[in-house]
């Protein structure tokens, strides 16, 4: 038995050593760093109005993106699970394709849509409304975040809605439930766990997203950009460390809470 456990230890050793050296150790250092500039550095995000503003911006944007993503992703997922039409597998694979796109490309897409030479500008000019641009403000950022969040939600909801028990819905209908009642009493409870898990992932991804915001160089400042500026432009390492601790704790906590609220049934998912 002991030789067996030694064998298991040997199997795990390379991964443990690698992880300890390249994640645990650096992160412990990161946690220690703000202390060099005094303990208040840890809560700089709350004390300095500029950082607080950036944090609130990021939280608000991520929450809004999460809600809209869940709503649209749920609608598209349920629809795609129900409808049968030629080309559905192709559409589904195209809709989930952007999962592999880097944030920078998504930022560029938003520029294509809402930049100075963008599609929407052409459209509004044609309608005689002048050239409308939205890429470099809050709208552009919101749409960019929506763009990289939707594929995950669509894929998750399509899978979950396809696996839904059709008999429950049949029973509800035969008992005279209206469409709205079916949605409220059958769909929403059945998709609750999916919604919780997917929502937490979307929220955490939005909080930490860098590439899209960086490409759009938006006037609406989000925390990852603030952090990047502190490090790159001002070489303020302690503060950058403090901001990344804040950011990391928020994303970790949201995922952790979702996992525990979802209960043991979803723990394996």
């Amino acid at each position: 038995m002991t030789s067996h456990s030694r064998l298991l230890g040997l199997c795990a050793a390379p991964a443990v050593a690698f992880f300890a050296a390249f994640w645990l150790l650096p992160v412990v250092r990161l946690f220690a760093l703000p202390a060099e500039k005094g303990w208040t550095t840890y809560v700089a995000v709350l004390l300095d109005s500029r950082y607080l503003h950036s944090l609130l911006n990021t939280l608000g944007l991520s929450l809004a993106v999460t809600l809209v993503t869940l709503l649209l992703g749920g609608v598209v997922g349920i629809t795609l699970a129900r409808l049968r039409f030629a080309g559905k597998p192709l559409l589904l694979s195209l809709l989930t394709l952007p999962l592999s796109f880097p944030g920078v490309i998504i930022g560029f897409f938003i520029i294509l849509l809402g930049g100075r030479q963008g599609l929407v500008a052409d459209l509004t000019e044609w309608l005689g409304l002048g050239r409308t641009t939205f890429a470099y403000g809050l709208t552009g950022l919101f749409l960019g975040y929506l763009y990289f969040s939707l594929p995950r939600a669509i894929a998750t909801y399509t899978a979950a809605a396809s696996a839904m028990d059709a008999q429950l819905e049949e029973a509800a209908r035969s008992l005279g439930a209206s469409r709205w009642q079916v949605a409220k009493d059958v769909w929403i409870p059945e998709l609750a766990q999916t919604t919780l898990a997917c929502g937490a992932i979307v929220f955490a991804t939005s909080m930490g997203a860098f590439g899209t915001a960086f490409t759009l160089a938006s006037k609406f400042e989000v925390l990852p950009i603030t952090l990047y500026n502190e490090f790159t432009n001002y070489a303020n390492f302690a503060l950058a460390a403090s901001l990344s601790i804040t950011l990391g704790l928020i994303t970790w906590l949201s995922l952790f809470l979702a996992r525990h609220a979802a209960g043991p049934a979803a723990a394996g998912a």
Partner: protein, 265 residues
Amino acid sequence: MPHPRQLPLLLPALTALVSVFMLAPIALSVLAGLVNNYSTGLASGLTLRWISEVLDVYGSTVAASLLLALLCVGGSLLLGVPCAYALARSRSRWARLFEELLTLPVAVPGLATALALILAYGQFSSFRQSFAFILVGHLVFTLPFMVRTVGAAFRRHELLALEEAARSLGANFGQRFMGVLVPAVLPAIVAGSLMVFTLSVGAVSLNWKLHTPLTRTLPVGLADSYASMRIEIGSAYTLVFLLVILPVLWGLQWLGHLIEKHHGT
């Protein structure tokens, strides 16, 4: 099987709208990368000029990005598969703790991990500026996916019986591991590799330098040039990304389906 009954019209309409929002930028950027002049549109004629310009400037980063993703898959296989086995078989508290810790790099933004790595190892400038540094960052991030996917497969009950049978027939650990266990979890290994590859490519893409966006040596940044350069070049750049990445992704996916069919799991 859900009944194909009619849905309220709002649902398909919204689905169509979302599809347009998701697909229009892709179509637009493919088109814009191929026309002579974006503002004149198709009338200006088609050209491969922008693509060749992108390949001239960024060609080496495309290759580097693919190489990085492949190395990342290799590394996560070497580190992750034995570790997944150990975690699946061990009943110790430490194993559970490590499993929990291992998922943390996924739960915190890549930016935080990158900053931690730079602050810890930044002073070793030859390591800091090397390819290995980026590889390490990617491995930390992708390892949990491999360990989880393969670990779930190792936990299957019939595998325990299979392993026991091989042991009672006198197979040593190496024979059991390579001859029985690894073939049995091959579909999971392929699925994990696909995930690692996608993540590695998506996290960095062609401009793999951006993965450590906190480098001070980072020039104004590719992203910056994205915002300021000609729309045709930006589009061609996206097109090159699609042309390079998609076949590899689809090839790996196809391989996964093939193996799954063969092994019937």
